[in-house]
Symmetry: C2
Subunit: 244 residues, 2 copies
C-alpha cells in the first residue's frame, strides 16, 4: 500500500504550497517509496489529528500517522534503511539539521517577498485562519509584512551567499548526489515557485538556479512539473553539463 | 618529526589571533598529530612562499608546505586516513563546506564588533600592512568599519540562531562528537577571544556558550589555555553534564 501524505494545497487541489511538504515529497521520491498525496487545507485539523500535530506534512504508513517534516525524515531513515539514505550517517544528520535551522532564517527573509502572492493562492476556506494565525505570529497585519522592495530582495539574495558559494564548487548541497539537506533548501524555492512570479535567483550563470533546475528535474521532473510559475530548467545548450 | 605550523600572532608571540589558524590547530589536535607552531606576522610573506599562499595557516609536513585552511583539512584527511576523521565521508564534507561559507558571513558581522580591539593587538610590524590591506578590502577607513553599537551586537547574535538552535539539540555541530565543522565555527569565537573582551554569547544557559566551553576544553584545554580574555568554562556545578 502506498504511503498516504497530507499535502498543503492552495485554492486548486494541484497547487502544493508548503515548503515542509515539498521536503517530504522529495524524501519519499529519494527513497523510491510510492505515495498518494491528498490535498489538505489548514482548517482540516481533524484529518491529521492522529499524528498529534496541527500542520502538514503528515504521512500515514502502514496505519501509523507521523507528522513534522524532520520527524518524518528520521522515520523514513529508520523504517527503510535499505533504500537510498537521506543522511549519510550521524554527522551528516547533525549538519543537515544545521541546514534546517539555517533555512528557517531564509524563510523569514522570503515571506515578505512572496506573501502578497501567497495570499492570492490560499484556499478560501483557509483565508481567515491563515490571516489570524500568521498575524499572531508576526505581531502585525499581513499587509505590514509584505515588502517587495529591492532592498528586501537584496537581503534574501545576500543570505543565499553560503549556498551560492557551495554550489560553485559542488553540484549539490550534499556533494555529488542530492540528499535531504538539498530538499530542505529546495522546498523553500518550490514553495515560492508555487505561488510567486518573482525570480529569486540571478541570471542563467547563477549556480543556485542551475541547482534548482537539477533538483526540479529529479524523479521524473517531480518538482518541475508541479503547478507553479518560475521555470529553472536549463537552456538546452546547458543540459549536457548540468548533472556533472 | 612534528608538523610545523605558521600561526598568526599578535604583538605577543603567544597570542594567536587567526580564526583560520585555530581551525587547523584543532584539526591537528583532532588527528592527534604533533605540531610545532611558529608565531608568524603578516609581513613575513617569504616564510610561507613555498606553500604558494600569502596568508596563514601554512603547515609543513615532511618537507611539503601546504596553505589554506580548507586545503590543509583535505590534506590531513588524505595523508592520515587512519586518524580520527575531520569529515565523516563526502556528504559531511560538502555540508561542512556549507558551514565554512556560512561562517564567512558571521565573520563579516563580527569584524565591526572586535576590530578596535584587534587593532590594539596587532604586532607593530603588521600595523601598516593590516590597515592598508583591510581598508582596501572594506573600501573604507577601519574607523568607519568599527561598530560596537547594541544593534551591531544584535545582528551578530541573530545570525547565530541556526547554531544556537542546533546546539539545543546536539552537543556538537557534528553530532555527539566534534569534527571539522565545529572547529570552523569555534575558530571564529577563539579569534574574538584572543583580542576582545566582549562576551559574544548570552547567559550561562546559552547552548552556544556551553559548546564553546566544551571545545575549549578538548585536547587538554588547548584553546582554553591560549592567550585570550573571555572564559567559557562551565561553572563547577555544570561540569558533570557538559560532555554528555
Amino acid at each position: 500500500m502506498p504511503i498516504l501524505m497530507y499535502d498543503l494545497a492552495g485554492a486548486e487541489d494541484e497547487r502544493r504550497i508548503s515548503p515542509f511538504c515539498w521536503r517530504v515529497r522529495l524524501a519519499l521520491a529519494h527513497k523510491d517509496l510510492p505515495v498518494d498525496t491528498r490535498p489538505w487545507r489548514m482548517v482540516e485539523k481533524d484529518a491529521i489529528n492522529a499524528a498529534g500535530v496541527t500542520t502538514v506534512p503528515v504521512i500515514v504508513d502502514n496505519g501509523r500517522a507521523i507528522g513534522d517534516s524532520w520527524v518524518i525524515a528520521d522515520y523514513l531513515e529508520q523504517a527503510y534503511p535499505d533504500r537510498p539514505a537521506l543522511f549519510a550517517g550521524p554527522q551528516s544528520r547533525a549538519l543537515t539539521k544545521m541546514t534546517h535551522h539555517w533555512t528557517e532564517q531564509l524563510h523569514r527573509l522570503l515571506v515578505p517577498l512572496i506573501l502578497r502572492e501567497v495570499l492570492a493562492h490560499i484556499d478560501e476556506r483557509d483565508s481567515l485562519y491563515f490571516r489570524s494565525s500568521r498575524e499572531r505570529a508576526f505581531g502585525k497585519p499581513l499587509e505590514a509584512v509584505i515588502d517587495e522592495s529591492p532592498a528586501a530582495f537584496q537581503r534574501f539574495d545576500g543570505a543565499l551567499s553560503p549556498l551560492r558559494r557551495l554550489l560553485r564548487e559542488s553540484p549539490y548541497l550534499c556533494g555529488s548526489t542530492p540528499a535531504y539537506a538539498d530538499y530542505i533548501v529546495f522546498g523553500m524555492f518550490q514553495w515560492a515557485r508555487a505561488c510567486s512570479t518573482h525570480v529569486l535567483t540571478r541570471g542563467d550563470d547563477d549556480p543556485v538556479r542551475a541547482w534548482l533546475g537539477r533538483i526540479a528535474g529529479l524523479y521524473g521532473g517531480l518538482a518541475a512539473s508541479a503547478s507553479g510559475y518560475v521555470s529553472w530548467s536549463p537552456k538546452p545548450s546547458m543540459q549536457a553539463g548540468s548533472v556533472s
